[in-house]
């Protein structure tokens, strides 16, 4: 059954269908024992489906309709097994014990109503080698040891805490401890760090790698980030639309991609592009310095939040932040979660009031102006938010969504507004026919175009983009960034781009403000900051961009 005894996994002619529609088209690949293999592809490429099939945990109506998934045997653990046809009891024995899973989203993969220690202990109990009643004290000490090994400080005390008391990075470490509890021969990591900040991502992946290396575990690493795959694995499998389009070493894939899709992916991969120092979309010299001075001035901005239940104590989310933005340019505010970047954006938009300091748009502040002047000022600045799924009302048609700001401000007549919506759809390169559709009929990228069209409806001068491309796949992300750069050139827009992703910054921004714990640690042009970072933190951030190793 196994073609090569050295292989731990052989997938042959695998076809998976959801309710009769095939989504995985007879794919085949193999992994050698101890090898680290990456599967790279966008959402919808079938990479997660492949994993679901290997673990036989396909959601809903998903079925394996053809092919085999052979797990190599020969160790003390078990026999060669075809996972495509194995019975549920056999699969139960294999899950956790021979194949471990580090799932994607640390926020949703831990049981919120159960202490984390108990969740690790469950994994230990499920994969016990001895029969009979489990020794509770022993299980507990093993679980504590696993947590400590996965990098949870003070594991003994934190054993009894609940998931919501942990940060995303710490939760991911708990999930790693769970995946390693059964000492699996094959570890599947499904986008294990996509939801985390870059520096945390690097720490966790380094840690995961050292654990995997020490055990000689084979690693199947699923990611949408080509740079990350190149950094972390021996071999990359590129998937698109349910097919494997290319397989090769990281060097082959990055430097000499054969397939058209891989080429697009390499070109669009922001991390790789940033590392290679190419693909800047931002116009280096903004052409219309129509007005002298800055369109946005942020002056000694401070925002303090009172801590709940602790009278008098507060936390400084934004601490004396100052910067200026020239008209027609893009300034990126970069930082990890908790750095205060979003709070700054909210204050500028007038959604939050500053504790002290000011944010002036054309010399006026949204927090102090009232009435008609405030409305006029609102027209000048518009937001584009991160989540194109959450920021559009699903019950509205696209036309109504884009039209809404026009109606609120009483711009034009009904028919002139209709024309304006059509014009806006043209501007964001959407067919006019989408006007009558609803958000759930559009893809993530299309929705974000709608969000941009809505933001542009009132002809603003300044767009505040809060992680506007973070939720999108790389190729789509690239398209949206191109669109934004294009709109900037045509309409002379100014962007304030809030992001955690330095690679995006390199692609689109002229200036960068690096924030950490509410403080600006570095502020300068993209070239200055990327080529001659002065702050240690900036250097750390730049070093954490995956794919940097291939810059040479």
């Amino acid at each position: 059954m196994l073609q090569d005894a050295e292989n731990i996994l052989e997938v042959t002619d695998l076809e998976i269908a959801f309710g009769g529609t095939p989504v995985l088209h007879r794919i085949g690949f193999s992994m050698r024992r101890g090898e680290r293999v990456a599967i790279v592809g966008q959402s919808g490429s079938g990479k997660s489906t492949a994993i679901g099939a290997i673990l036989r945990l396909l959601p809903g109506s998903g079925r394996i309709t053809h092919g085999s998934i052979v797990l190599g045997g020969g160790t003390t653990r078990g026999e060669v097994e075809d996972l495509a046809t194995a019975s549920e009891p056999v699969m139960r024995a294999i899950r956790g014990e021979r194949i471990g899973l580090v799932p994607q989203d640390p926020m949703s993969n831990l049981n919120p109503a159960m202490r984390i220690g108990a969740q690790v202990a469950d994994a230990l109990v499920a994969n016990r080698t001895t029969e009979g009643k489990p020794d509770r004290a022993q299980i507990r000490s093993q679980a504590v040891a696993l947590l400590a090994e996965a990098g949870i400080p003070d594991a003994e005390r934190r054993y009894g805490q609940y998931p919501h008391e942990f940060s995303g990075g710490m939760r991911q470490r708990v999930l790693i401890a769970i995946a390693l509890a059964g000492k699996p021969e094959l570890l599947i990591a499904d986008e294990p760090t996509s939801a985390l900040d870059v520096t945390v991502q690097r720490q966790i992946l380094n840690h995961l790698q050292s654990l995997v290396d020490a055990r000689g575990t084979s690693l199947l690493f699923v990611t949408h980030d080509l740079g990350l795959a190149a950094d972390r694995t021996d071999r990359i499998i590129v998937m698109s639309e349910g097919r494997i389009v290319e397989v090769g070493t990281p060097r082959e894939i990055l430097l000499d991609p054969q397939h058209e899709y891989t080429r697009q992916l390499v070109a669009a991969a922001p991390s790789v592009a940033a590392a290679l120092g190419a693909g800047t979309l931002a116009d280096p010299t903004p052409e219309n310095p129509a007005r002298a001075g800055s369109i946005l001035v942020v002056e000694s901005l401070v925002k303090e939040f009172a801590l709940r239940g602790q009278r008098g104590s507060s936390i400084r989310a934004v601490d004396d932040v100052s910067f200026e933005v020239e008209p027609g340019t893009t300034t990126a505010v970069v930082g990890e979660s908790g750095s205060g970047k979003t709070t700054v954006a909210r204050i500028i938009l007038g959604l939050e009031t500053a504790s002290s300091g000011r944010a002036l748009i054309d010399g006026e502040s949204l927090t102090t102006t009232r009435g008609a002047r405030r409305r006029a000022l609102r027209r000048k600045v518009q937001p584009v938010f991160q989540d194109p799924y959450g920021s559009l009302d699903p019950t509205y048609s696209i036309e109504r969504l884009i039209d809404e700001p026009l109606r609120i401000f009483g711009v034009g007549s009904r028919s002139s507004r209709q024309d304006r919506v059509a014009e806006l759809l043209d501007q964001v390169a959407l067919p006019r026919t989408v006007a009558q559709r609803r958000p759930n009929e559009l893809s993530g990228g299309q929705r974000q175009r709608v969000a941009i069209a809505r933001a542009l409806a009132l002809e603003p001068e300044l767009l505040i983009c809060d992680e506007a491309v973070s939720a999108l796949d790389v190729l789509v992300q690239d398209q949206i960034l191109t669109l934004l750069a294009d709109l900037q050139e045509r309409l002379g827009l100014t962007y304030l781009f809030i992001t955690h992703d330095l690679s995006v910054v390199r692609q689109i921004a002229h200036c960068v403000v690096v924030m950490r714990s509410g403080v600006v640690v570095e502020n300068g042009t993209v070239d200055e900051v990327f080529n001659h970072p002065t702050a240690d933190y900036t250097r750390e951030l730049l070093g954490a961009i995956p794919g940097a190793a291939f810059a040479a």
């Binding site: 139960r92 159960m114 469950d122 919501h164 059964g182």
Partner: protein, 317 residues
């Protein structure tokens, strides 16, 4: 957590004061005159006035309320204007019946409801789900009194499995006592069981597709363990809230059920008192119902915070 409970307690006391006011005024707005009911239709105006004075009904409303509250705090709810029995004594004999009935009904509803809900989720799209759904639909849509009459007719009279009526004190003879209460508790619990079943099913369906359930299965845990430790536990958070909201309805349901099965409970006391304008009894009864309503809600809130660790910490932070 302690602070959370304290806040809730304070709110409860406030609710209670308001409730006592509403009860006091409300009862006096009822049409009908207790003095007339007591003294009889033929009584002379002098006799009526004497009865009123005796009952304190000739005093200003405020004085009456103050007296009412003061006596209440001394555990004195007055005497029934009809029989002259102290209200506390009436309550002491009837309340246990209703409490046993309600508690039994809640247990039945929770056990049956959660069991059917889990079964419905586990066997989605197959016959056990259809059976469970049909039972829930019947429980929700058929009125209690009709179910009660059917149950008496078939289960008690025709098959003779259960007594058709009567009450045996649960404390003095637990087995026989519970046996006599089984049929009423089943009937009283059906509506609640149906609600719990539907809620359990819906939230189980949701939780069983969450990421953490998949992760639990990827650990190599068996289906049963995942179902209980990961699925059910999270589903119960929603179920407890819903049950809490429904419990109040149980008290009014008990009034009807007691009537069908001729149980000497609180419901019967309430009905009799309302019909005879027995002010002290009505006041006491309504207040006790209010207090139990408040206590139940308090208990549900605290229970909720025990099941859902997020709330517990939120209250303490």
């Amino acid at each position: 957590m302690g602070r959370y409970v304290l806040t809730r307690l304070w709110q409860s006391v406030l609710t209670l004061v308001l409730a006592s006011l509403v009860v006091f005024i409300g009862v006096r707005q009822l049409p009908g005159d207790p003095a007339l009911a007591m003294a009889g239709e033929e009584a002379s105006p002098e006799q009526l006035a004497a009865v009123r004075a005796d009952l304190g009904l000739d005093q200003p409303l405020l004085t009456q309320y103050v007296a009412f509250v003061r006596n209440m705090f001394q555990g004195d709810f007055g005497e029934s204007t009809r029989t002259g029995t102290p209200v506390t004594e009436l309550v002491a004999t009837t309340l246990p019946v209703t409490l046993w009935l309600s508690a039994y009904a809640i247990v039945v509803a929770i056990v049956v409801g959660i069991l059917l809900g889990v079964v419905a989720e586990r066997f989605r799209g197959r016959w056990p789900e259809w059976v469970a759904n049909a039972m829930a639909l019947i429980g929700l849509s058929v009125p209690n009194f009709w179910l009660g009459i059917l149950a008496i007719l078939y289960l008690a009279v025709t098959l003779g499995w259960f007594p058709a009526s009567g009450y045996v004190d649960v404390l003095s003879d637990p087995l026989r006592g519970l046996y006599y209460l089984t049929l009423p508790a089943l009937i009283l619990g059906t509506g609640l069981a149906a609600v719990i079943m539907r809620q359990t099913r819906a939230s189980m369906i949701e939780t069983m597709t969450t990421d953490y359930v998949r992760t639990a299965r990827a650990k190599g845990l068996g289906r049963g363990r995942v179902l209980v430790r990961y699925g059910l536990r999270n589903s119960l958070i929603v179920v407890v809230t819903i049950v809490g909201l429904q419990l109040g309805g149980l008290i009014s349901g008990a009034v009807v059920t007691e009537r069908i099965f001729a149980l000497p409970g609180f419901g019967k006391l309430t009905l009799d008192a309302v019909f005879t304008r027995d002010y002290p009894v009505i006041q006491a009864v309504v207040l006790i119902i209010t207090v139990s309503y408040i206590l139940i809600n308090l208990a549900v809130d605290i229970l909720y915070s025990v099941i859902n660790p997020k709330i517990r910490v939120g209250g303490a932070a």
